[in-house]
Amino acid sequence: MNGNKNESAVVEQLTELQLVLRVYVQSLLPGDSSAHDVTQQANSTIWRKRGDFEIGTNFKAWAFSIARYEVLNYRKQQARSARLGFSMELNETIAEEISTRSGELESRHDALQRCLESLKAKDRELLLHRYHSTATLQEFSHRTGRSVGGLKVTLHRLRSVLLNCISNRLEAEEGRV
């Protein structure tokens, strides 16, 4: 029965950890489209090794150490075709800081949803395209008649607008309680 308890605890914690795990892996592989696959690989390894996890110890730290290993493993495989990445030291710092960042991702997530509602339809469409569609920005540019350069600038601006909106909302909420 102990095994089952362990299993459900792992499922629950792993589900909760998904977003942070993605941030963690992407922070070490910025701009790399394989980051998603590496995250999945980490998930799969965490699942396979779930018997090793000791209930009561820090699940996040345990899961991150596995993810870290998967990132290194991936980097080793890619060594030859490697794009320029950060130095070992910087990655070390990032890994440590990301894993100790306070977890308000959930409330940021809620705030983001509200902030998205306040955007214009065409801006939302651009974001939807960028973050979901597999089509390129070029194709979107053809379809909408907007230049690629212009779209990139808009994307950058939208992110800044959203970040501002999120932090305003969170501040407002804190002030209210």
């Binding site: 589900t15 977003l19 922070s27 800081e97 997530h109 979901h132 990139k152 950058h156 209210r176």
Partner: protein
């Protein structure tokens, strides 16, 4: 480096479109300046949150197209519930005609929304709502617990018991007593909640109301609402404001208190907790079940190793004679507890679990937990022997929603006497599209000594029928068979009929005895998600 240049480079880095020279510049800044790293984390988190949010939006739009996307990591239980809600809700819109194309009238259902989640909820006697049910019109009473309802307008409401309320339309709810918290999207602005003291009309986006004896309290958590009292002038309340109303002249402006009302996120967490505690109860119960000497084969449709395509027979005694099941084509999905990879989706073409069941049997019980997407084939397989030879059982669901069980008695139909090769035990219709995506426990008992066949759904007797004397088979054989499909897998003809179950299974059990009504009810009681 100016903050604006810093942010531009960080976005280029995250997008994978940064020149090498700029990577080096950014790295230099990041190594020495925690503020730059902090900006990096913040923009990266935004990127992941955007991916996740927009992905969920697209998944829910595509929910009808494929249930397999639910198995994606990171899709929460709430996401799946929302997708179920969409699937159940869609056919009301009338965009999709009947699957078989044979029925004359388009299918209809009744309700203004779907109960997507509840925790410790007790409804008054006449309404016993389950998760995934359409919420009926008319007065409703939630005696205790909390319930989350998604109305077809897009409004999501959380009601806390004890509460009395009625949904008049997806834009209009009246609250007789109790607490309600509503999240109103742009598309549903103008959503109204009526109380004895007056009406709240939402101008977007979130508010709560507590209706007590002789007074109502409105809390605006975000956006604006209009308060239309029965007596007195309309008032506008802003986000962060609350108002206690005891009739005209007795109103008081307060500060909104979100913590006084259960929200969508809170109910989500509570649901996960209660689901896991039920799962643990089932694990204990099914551990005893495994030792039941009558149990011949028992498969849970998940393996510890995600790459293995074998299912171990976990019946303690039965595994001596019946071995493992081999998974063909079926895809790993979440089981009824929401655990990924612990159920099989049989909807991919050709899906089945191959088993061999040697020996001879007298009375039998077949039992499975299934989640049916739709009954779009003439025959929707549960458990069938290859072909259909003498003395073999077939267990399936017909496209009109009836359960079907038979054991073949004669080689062929006799043209001159009119005697059929077998007698088919049909249940009445138990399934329609409103059950799509819901986990059900289906069981059928073939009782030779009692001379009857009984069909069960969710622990209750669906129908019971005597076995006609001339069709009684006292020695049943199974041999090679498939769970979730039917066919002649060893045939050299590549053509085959499509009979795989369009749905998922997470457990399948076969007993060499007739289980009693109470035993079946007990299994359901402990195993229901």
């Amino acid at each position: 480096m100016s903050p604006s240049e810093r942010d531009r480079l960080i976005d280029a880095l995250i997008d994978g479109e940064i020149p090498d020279a700029d990577v080096l510049r950014l790295e230099a800044e990041m190594s020495i300046d925690p503020a730059v790293r902090s900006a990096y984390y913040e923009r990266l988190e935004l990127s992941v949150l955007l991916e996740n949010t927009l992905e969920a939006e697209v998944v829910s739009m595509e929910a009808t197209a494929s249930t397999r996307t639910w198995s994606k990591w990171g899709l929460s239980a709430m996401g799946a519930a929302a997708a179920v809600a969409l699937v159940s809700g869609i056919f009301l819109g009338g965009e999709f005609g009947s699957a078989s194309g044979t029925s004359v009238a388009e299918k209809q259902a009744t309700g203004f929304g779907v109960l997507v989640g509840q925790v410790d909820a007790t409804w008054s006697n006449d309404t016993n709502l389950k998760e995934g049910d359409l919420v009926p019109p008319g007065p409703l009473q939630l005696l205790s617990g909390v319930a989350q309802i998604e109305l077809f307008s897009g409004v999501s409401v959380v009601v806390e018991g004890e509460a009395a309320f009625e949904i008049h339309s997806p834009m209009d709810v009246s609250m007789g007593a109790g607490k309600l918290r509503a999240r109103v999207p742009e598309a549903a602005q103008g959503f109204r909640v009526r109380s004895t003291e007056g009406d709240v009309v939402d101008l977007g986006t979130e508010f709560a109301i507590n209706v007590m004896a002789g007074q109502s309290e409105v809390h605006v958590l975000d956006g604006e609402v209009e308060w239309h009292p029965k007596e007195g002038a309309t008032q506008l309340l802003d986000g962060g404001q609350a108002m206690n109303w005891r009739g005209s002249g007795h109103s008081e402006i307060l500060t909104a208190d979100a913590s006084a009302f259960v929200g969508v996120a809170e109910i989500g967490v509570k649901r996960i907790e209660s689901r896991y505690s039920q799962m643990e109860d089932w694990m204990n119960y099914s551990a005893n079940l495994r030792a039941d000497p009558r149990l011949v084969s028992y498969y849970k449709m998940g393996t510890n190793d995600p790459w293995s395509r074998r299912l171990r027979n976990i019946s303690e005694l039965g595994s001596e004679c019946v071995g493992e099941g081999a998974v063909v084509a079926a895809a790993a999905v979440a089981d009824r507890w929401g655990r990924l990879g612990h159920a099989l989706d049989f909807s991919p073409m050709g899906s089945r679990v191959r088993v061999v069941v040697p020996g001879e049997y007298r009375s039998m019980t077949f039992l499975t937990w299934v989640k049916i997407n739709s009954l779009d084939r003439w025959y929707n397989s549960l458990f069938l022997t290859d072909g259909h030879d003498l003395h073999e059982p077939h267990w399936q669901i017909l496209n009109d929603g009836r359960l079907f069980f038979s054991v073949k008695k004669y080689d062929t139909n006799n043209e001159s006497t009119g005697q059929q090769a077998k007698y088919n035990f049909h249940s009445p219709q138990f399934w329609d599209a409103s059950l799509s995506g819901q986990w059900l426990m289906i069981a059928t008992v073939y009782n030779v000594d009692g001379r009857e066949v009984t069909h069960y759904v969710n622990g209750r007797v669906l129908s019971r029928e005597a076995i006609p004397e001339e069709y009684l088979v006292e020695t049943v054989e199974i041999g090679a068979a498939s769970i979730g499909n039917w066919g002649e897998p060893y045939s050299e003809d590549p053509a085959f009929t499509v009979r795989n179950l369009n749905g998922s299974m997470d457990e399948f059990a076969f007993f060499e005895a007739a289980l009693s009504d109470d035993e079946i009810a007990d299994i359901y009681h402990h195993g229901k998600p």
